[in-house]
Amino acid sequence: MSAVGAGQLERVRVVEVAAPRKKPFPSNAVVIHALLFACIAVVAFPLYYAFVISTQDIQEVVQRPPRLIPSSHLLENYAQAWRKAHMGRMLLNSLVMAVAVAVGKIVISMLSAFAIVYFDFRGRMLCFWTIFVTLMLPVPVRLMSTYEVVGTLGWINTYQGLAIPLMASATATFLFRQFYLTIPNELAEAAQLDGAGPIRFLFQFLLPLSWANIAALFVVLFIFGWNQYLWPLLITNTEAMRTVVIGLEELIPRTGTELPTWNLIMAGAMMALLPPVAIIIFMQRWFVKGLIESEK
């Protein structure tokens, strides 16, 4: 990886012949497990506590000292939160938006990164810098003007209006480009010798190599799309189009003349965070693999 690592490797080759390898002490393992456990407990506590609150009724929530074990009102709280915030429809909207953003962005980024790396055409560097400049410009910065643009296109309160403006930034393109740059030249040469055109090269050769990247990007983009708040709030006009993160805000009274029902709010929060967290847990192997590979 770096000059330091190479140097160490040299020393190892010399040393290995001389002395046998030693095993680490078993007591180390206990300490490490204990530390990890403590850290995980701290990291997991907020979620655990949110879950506990979501199972209590409002009296138990305000009780002093606070109860830290789950209570029995789980089903009724979740049912009530579901009803009050129309969770079913909202979860569907969030799902459609998140999947659309993830898939859409992956597709257009892959195609444009492929073009930039594997073709030499007029305007190539211009395209690259144009796309590059958009890296991570936050949505609030271009919010009102984007709304006007979307309005001109007639996409207010539609799935297209929700998803497509979120595809405008170029993180994925950049990652694909980096990844493609690490693919050895020989592969492309071999493909050309084979008589394969660029499209065949893309699908037969590059795509199979990219799955880890694609999986990682899918996770990142899905979460990005699912967790959007400000843009969906502005662009949706009807209850039928709203997403789940907005639905959660609906449960929190902000006009200041109502007492918040924290147990319902936490139930809503749990429902809002479960899908993206589930995606991470299921796809984490590819997620980690893809991040590192594309990062190289």
Binding site: M1, G5, Q8, L9, V12, V15, I32, H33, L35, L36, I40, V43, P46, L47, Y49, A50, R64, L68, S109, S112, A115, Y118, R124, C127, T130, I131, F132, V133, M136, P138, P140, V141, L143, M144, S145, E148, I164, S169, L181, E189, F201, N227, Y229, L230, V245, L248, E249, W262, M266, A272, L273, V277, A278, I280, I281, Q284, K289, L291, I292, E295
Partner: protein, 294 residues
């Protein structure tokens, strides 16, 4: 480095077209509009626009509140980055020791990344709540100091930094675990043979080897905390108390959306855009160096 390329006069244009179209329509066009707005004084409903040249900019740059928001943004971003990156490195280092259960630990450490910042903010708000919160309750047994984030700016700032760092941890840990696992086992063995303790080993071998990843994550976390942290602030403190948690992005939103001052908001957008371009150029320079670094 000479790359093998394909020859086609039309195909590359077709391939880049979707990305360029989306970027042009939904990025550059609005960005230009913001730029335009920044030069005008606009009435909320848009029915009157007066050209004021750089008036909005000079006003901003003369406003101590604006500088405070820049400082807040820096403090916030630094706090989140230090907490999220250092914390992630320590946790990843622990998890990749020669112990069993790596997969399980990794699962348990990654998942907060999926939680939306506003949702995390709401959960932390409740935990830190001066009346209902479980944290002030337990802290009250330790000290009489009132951790009232509604009045004490630093407590509010700590709250939002903690909530944001919490959501970033998972992402950073994923990177670090992969990076640590990529260190050849032989290198670690050599250190063992040398008689190096775990701390020294970490300091002189592991840390330099993962420094590229660390650097990448520091830049990424800083940019993310600087710009995408809007959700947490909006869900929890709304810039308060006073303006202790007023970061640049939130001020932009507040002036534009709530104050309906589109001209000033546009000017703030332009300044932020310049900052982002600068930062991403920095990141690009770094990334390119890494590629040839190998």
């Amino acid at each position: 480095m000479q790359r093998t390329v394909f020859r086609s006069w039309w195909l590359p244009y077709v391939l880049v077209f979707p990305q360029m179209a989306v970027t042009m329509i939904f990025f550059f066009w609005p960005a230009l509009k913001s730029l335009q707005l920044s030069l005008y004084r606009v009435s909320p409903f848009g029915d009157s626009m007066t050209f004021v040249g750089l008036g909005n900019f000079t006003k901003l740059l003369a406003d101590p509140e604006y500088y405070r928001s820049v400082v807040n943004s820096l403090v916030f971003a630094a706090g989140v980055t230090v907490l999220a990156v250092a914390g992630a490195l320590v946790l990843a280092a622990l998890a990749t020791q020669k112990i069993r259960g790596l997969a399980a630990y990794r699962t348990l450490l990654l998942w907060p990344y999926g939680i939306a910042p506003p949702v995390a903010g709401i959960i932390f708000l409740f935990i830190f709540h001066p009346t209902y919160g479980v944290l002030p309750y337990f802290l009250s047994f330790v000290t009489a100091y009132e951790f009232n984030w509604l009045l004490k700016g630093w407590v509010a700032l700590t709250l939002v930094i903690a909530a944001t760092a919490w959501t970033h941890l998972g992402y950073n840990i994923a990177f670090f675990i992969a990076g640590l696992l990529a260190i050849p086992g032989a290198v670690m063995e050599a250190a063992d043979v040398d008689g190096a303790g775990p701390v020294r080993r970490f300091r002189s071998i592991v840390f330099p080897l993962v420094s590229p990843i660390t650097f990448y994550l520091v830049v990424l976390n800083m940019v993310f905390a600087f710009f995408e942290s809007f959700g947490v602030i909006d869900a929890v403190t709304k810039g308060g108390p006073g303006d202790a948690t007023m970061i640049m992005v939130y001020k932009l939103y507040k002036d534009g959306f709530i104050g309906l001052n589109l001209g000033s908001s546009g000017a703030q957008s332009v300044i932020l855009m310049a900052l982002v371009i600068g930062l991403t150029m920095l990141q690009f320079r770094f990334a390119e160096k890494k590629v040839t670094y190998r």
